[in-house]
Subunit: 771 residues, 2 copies
């Protein structure tokens, strides 16, 4: 950890977006209004699976106030009217078939949303219903109805073939990730081999800001797009491909984002809005309702089969797993989620043998994609539940079982991987201490209410796969600082943290730094805002850019002052040399002449892509979420009350402590919600709780009475000043910690989420032999 006196890093300054956000002045995509802007609405399939016989949109086209109608007739003229992260399987609007209830069939741009909706009602679609399949085990059967009769076009070979070389080993599998390390015969040496199956429910991201974009393609050779989108550069690339337009004719601009949690990574509203704008010759706003959000992107439900070999003393030896992920009707980010889930299933422990197989199974449900934790939530649920189950089977305290097997600081998870950059035991001991875990036997029962405690350690390789990031820091003659980088402010506080890094390096007040609006025309290339990469990946690029600017300024001053640069320091836009202070502005004006100049520092981060690790490159950092819960279980009602919830992450160095805490606690609350409440419920192919009233999220009084977090600063991160990424870790341990606590309280092991009263009661009944 840098031990210099710091003026900005680590200080509890107000977030740079705080004033705008609390006063309502902050601009989100929904706030953007363009002259002549039309409004889009889409017609969605009422069938889970059907062939489209005909579409008659003539009445809609004739309606006053309707400026464009988009059906498969229009998309036929678009060069490649399908999209997807890796496999280009999702049509802009349906062509031959619809594949889930909610699939987009047609779109209208009209003077207002009401007119657009009336026009949609006038579109006649004739469907031939087909059998729908919504269960992943059934969908992967060899005789299941097929979503795609022929493989989707545009498959990226690497992903299409997968590590195993097979494209579709089962039916409706769009991707398979497999890998193996260490000798397979390790199981033979184990004292015990345990095999358990876990079910993971499907959540919706439920970001408060809807999916929305404003697309302006009114001029033929120029696309301007404002989008609530986490990855503007990949979206630019996708749009260029779909519509056959050069990337330098497309500007994707990202205002503040009101939450995304992964769902806003790829194209969502953009292709429809652009196609309509081109047809209408006017800007088009396409804003989904909250209900449409449920139909647009979700987390992956999963079935996780985990087989673990251990010695009698609790030493882990081998783990094999098979994971089925529910990808829904289109592949979206599924391939990468599969890789991550498959990779992370062993958890942060030492094994001699790991084997993993993860399948993305397509079903006639809403498409699933990236979600906070990115496969790690699913795997932490299974892994950390099973660790406890094994400990109990072996008669070992789950804490001791974990402690014995945890990877050491600096130890690679698998050969070729980055070394562990947190002391895992330090975090675990902190949870135990904060929770009072060692005194859990003293917890009082309260009539039918029993209490217990559980622990868990969530684990993921953080910072994304092979994410290049570039940044630019400009300083004007007067010392005003411009920070140009592609990280979107999605609520996580990244603009605050990255600005603080720049201010620190340039010896400036943070108010002198302006974080420039993200705009692909001008912002340096960046892969996207995801995978807890803002400080760990972009932070490195920004830090290098700031240091480059600093170096140029000091070198310039050294030349003017005729002394070595290392005698100089930069503070408050003055050059300090011992007790002397030299104002920079006149020095610059005198040298460069004219009315100004600017120093431009560029920085980048490039992944090591050594191809040594099972994935393409050693990970940027390890994101760890340690957690513990104390629950009270009412054995009469099955009601679980989380009385204490404690999470801790390792920020490496907390650039902005409040932001770190906010990320950990926000993530933990999302974990709590998945543990206890959230689940998208399908009745056949129909989502039955896809609205704000019936979709259960935590209310204020669902919060644990004792809900705390501690941000560790272990100092081993790759980011500026030793920082590591935050934002996902806090979610990872929560569900399993609570499940473990329930088991601790009442001896009931629940292996399916959410941990509902019904499941508790069923578990109690089974335990009592009522079944």
């Amino acid at each position: 950890m840098t031990e210099l006196p710091l003026r900005t890093i680590g200080r509890p300054d107000r977030r740079i977006d705080a004033g705008e956000k609390v006063s309502g002045r902050a601009v989100y995509t929904t706030d953007i209004d363009l002259p002549g802007m039309l409004h889009a609405k889409v017609l969605r399939s009422p069938h889970g699976h059907a062939r489209i016989r005909s579409i008659d949109a003539s009445a809609a086209r004739a309606m006053p106030g309707v400026h464009a109608v988009l059906t498969r007739d229009e998309t036929a003229a678009i060069p490649m009217p399908v999209y997807g992260y890796f496999i280009k399987d999702q049509p802009i609007v349906a062509t031959d078939k619809v594949r889930y209830e909610g699939d987009i069939v047609a779109a209208v741009a009209a003077e207002d949303e009401g007119t657009a909706n009336r026009a949609l009602a006038a579109i006649r679609v004739e469907y031939e219903p087909l059998p729908a399949v919504t269960d992943i085990e059934r969908a992967s059967d060899p005789d299941a109805p097929e979503l795609f009769e022929k493989p989707p076009i545009g498959i990226v070979p690497k992903y299409g073939q997968g590590a195993s070389g097979e494209l579709r080993p089962r039916r409706n599998v769009c991707y398979r990730f497999s890998y193996e390390t260490g000798p397979a015969d390790a199981f033979a040496e184990c004292d015990h081999v345990f095999e358990d199956v876990f079910h993971f429910s499907r959540m919706h991201h439920l970001h408060l800001e809807p999916f929305v974009c404003i697309a302006d393609w009114s001029r033929e050779d120029r696309i301007e797009l404002w989008s609530s989108c986490q990855n503007p550069f990949p979206v630019r690339k996708e749009i260029a491909r779909i519509f056959g337009i050069a990337e330098n004719r497309i500007a994707v601009r990202v205002p503040y984002i009101g939450g995304g949690f992964g769902s806003k990574n790829g194209c969502k509203t953009e292709p429809v809005a652009l196609a309509l704008s081109r047809l209408a010759g006017r800007p088009v706003r396409f804003c989904l309702t909250l209900e449409e959000g449920f139909l647009t992107n979700t987390q992956h439900a999963a079935i996780l089969k985990v087989k673990t070999g251990v010695m009698a003393d609790g030493t882990l030896v081998a783990r094999e797993s098979e994971i089925l992920l529910d990808s829904g009707a289109y592949s979206d980010g599924s391939p990468l989620v599969a890789e991550k889930a498959g990779y992370r299933i062993p958890g942060p422990y030492r094994y001699r043998h790991i084997k993993t197989d993860c399948y993305c199974v397509m079903t006639n449900t809403a498409p699933a994609g990236p979600f906070r934790g990115f496969g790690g939530t699913q795997t932490s649920w299974a892994c950390e539940s099973q660790i406890d189950m094994i400990a109990h089977r072996l008669g070992i305290d789950p804490y001791e079982m974990r402690r014995k097997n945890l990877i050491d600081l600096g130890e690679p998870f698998v050969p070729g991987e980055s070394g562990m950059d947190s002391d895992l035991r330090e975090g675990l001991d902190l949870v135990v201490r904060e929770l009072g875990y060692r005194r859990r036997d003293e917890l009082q029962s309260d009539g039918p209410v029993k209490r217990g405690m559980g622990l868990a350690i969530g684990f993921k390789d953080g910072g994304g796969v092979n994410k290049p990031a570039l940044a630019r820091v400009k300083v004007s003659t007067g010392g005003d600082i411009f920070l140009q980088c592609g990280t979107a402010e999605i609520g996580q506080g990244a603009h605050t943290a990255l600005s603080a890094v720049v201010a620190e390096r340039l010896g400036a007040d943070r108010s002198r730094v302006r974080y420039m609006p993200v705009d692909t025309d001008h912002t340096p290339f960046d892969q996207g805002t995801n995978a807890s990469s803002a400080i760990s990946v972009m932070g490195q690029a920004v830090d290098r850019a700031a240091l480059s600017a600093r170096r140029q300024i000091l070198d310039f001053a050294a030349e003017k002052l005729g002394c070595p640069a290392d005698e100089l320091d930069l503070a408050d836009w003055e050059i300090r040399r011992g007790n002397e202070a030299h104002a920079l502005a006149p020095m610059i004006m005198g040298h460069f002449g004219g009315t100004g100049w600017e120093f431009v520092g560029e920085g980048f981060h490039k992944a090591k892509n050594s191809h040594a690790a099972p994935l393409e490159a050693p990970c940027v950092f390890w994101e760890i979420g340690w957690g513990g819960a104390q629950v009270a279980v009412d054995t009469e009602t099955g009601q679980v009350t989380v009385e204490k919830l404690f999470v801790t992450g390792d920020a490496g160095r907390a650039i902005h402590p409040l932001v770190c805490r906010g990320q950990d606690e926000g993530a933990a609350l999302m974990g709590l919600s998945q543990a206890l409440f959230e689940r998208m419920i399908y009745d056949g192919s129909r989502l039955v709780n896809g609205d704000a009233l019936t979709y259960r999220v935590p209310l204020a009084d669902d919060l644990p009475a004792d809900f705390r977090s501690v941000t560790q600063e272990q100092g081993h991160g790759p980011g500026p000043f030793g920082a590591k990424g935050m934002g996902e870790g806090g979610m990872l341990p929560v569900a399993s910690a609570i499940a473990n606590a329930i088991h601790d309280a009442v001896g009931v092991r629940i292996t399916e989420l959410p941990l509902s009263p019904e499941r508790v009661l069923a578990g109690l009944a089974a335990k009592n032999g009522d079944r």
Copy 2:
């Protein structure tokens, strides 16, 4: 000159803005429409000079649809509510006094211009008229009425004190430029000393696009400004200073500009629009009428006294001059125009002694500022008229007299200056050849119509004073090229030429280059679009940026291919090595991973500012305009018909020949117009012809029957591929060439512009002894 085979440079491709402009799709500032945008109008002084006793705007403020009223009461709260290039003397709205008819007294922002105008009519202003002075000789008398009783605030010391050390040697002088080189006693050795006085008329720039800006200061900490402005960075700096806002909170954006000719260099509409936007909390559009343009900025009228010592054989020895420039009521760019006029008055000839004194005199007329030629038009008029006059007095052919005295290629104009970078005799001989000057004795008279020919060489140090320029060239993974630089497209074709340079260097079709919109938030710093600096100054920065990007790409490929970079070439986004071609996109993706990357080349130009020359730095290049005219003078009516007009400039290397020709011919036509027609006529302090109907400009049939230009490519320019700047040179020789031709035809010497029939008749009468 680079002799490589070139694919873009020098080819007659279509201008990159041609399609947009002929189809009407091109976006100018006037096309920008923002939601909630208000419209501004201003109240102007009806007096040439008056003290303001009171302003009552209460009725205007109360009018429905009026959102903001700006008077001195409101500007009192602005940190520094005055502006100006060097001397901050122009108030946003008048405070104590008005100083010319048209001076802005109040402004209104309303729902529409009609409402704004009605509100202005309701503002009551009480004036105390003061004596106005509109004649520069009278204005500089010690007892003349004073425009500023106390020196304006914010005087930049360097300019305030001038070379002579005196600030106000005469009354109403806002700046004086003086310099001297060589022995003053050189006059004593001369066989003859001639002293002549020339009067130069005042033109308006008459750009077809009006002065206009859209100012959005609805959010406290953010200014967005779209402006038809040649110098967005200096304007940003001025706005930052006026309103006390950091430069990184201000974005100045420059769409296409519909002509400026110098008038759009500094703040014009921006301060009023911004002040109104802040008051109203809404965007404000402020667009002047053509008539208001006449009241906003003009050329400098001038009186030029030139004393020249020569030997009997025509060898020039010494030249002293005193120039009075009419600055109008506010200083604007006057100090720099004074430096340039004073510096250029000797013309492109060799002298042993030069002495110059140039005064900016303030009068109660519209402010004068930069104008195509920038002092050089005034001085060419005097210099090139006097060369002919001296030749005739000595009985030498004016062509021979010029040829004898011209500076040689490579010879510095004065010690410390850049060497002459055109062969001046080559250009002169070209004019003589093209015009048939040597056979002018054979020209037929036609009754009262007499014919004659005249020559002239206009001369200016080009590229601006101490203009730093930065540029950036980005190339995406797919080979799309982004060119970011601050040069505005003002009709001169700079975007076409600069894009061609980038395309050439990167081996790409020009269509792959996108010239990014000029926006101070994102575009690298640049001093401005003026002084024929686009190719000569920015061109160097752009070329270096492109070469840097090229170098990075070749180095990258060399590393991947394991060979030296100098074995590689770049063409069509492939690496060529002998007969091999390697596609770059997959090579980049493989190396950097992720979905993309970009190569970023930065380049800059910095003036040499050696302080050796009389000005701050040796000039970037010499802009020469050679010209010749054949006239027919009707001795009965005084009518002058220009039958032939030939101009030639030296492009060094014509990056885009059509653009070069357009610049030379456009400039020549402006020169013709000044020679024969244009003049702002004042009756006292009232401009009497400040509108499109009465202000005489050339009509289609005023064009010479034989009007031609030739673009020389002598290859000695500092710009890319040997290019030099164009755009002003063509204007410089025209008026004196025509005056010289009139003298050649009828023996009448006119020393005052325009060359009107009245002046011809008066000259004929004087010659015939009628006077």
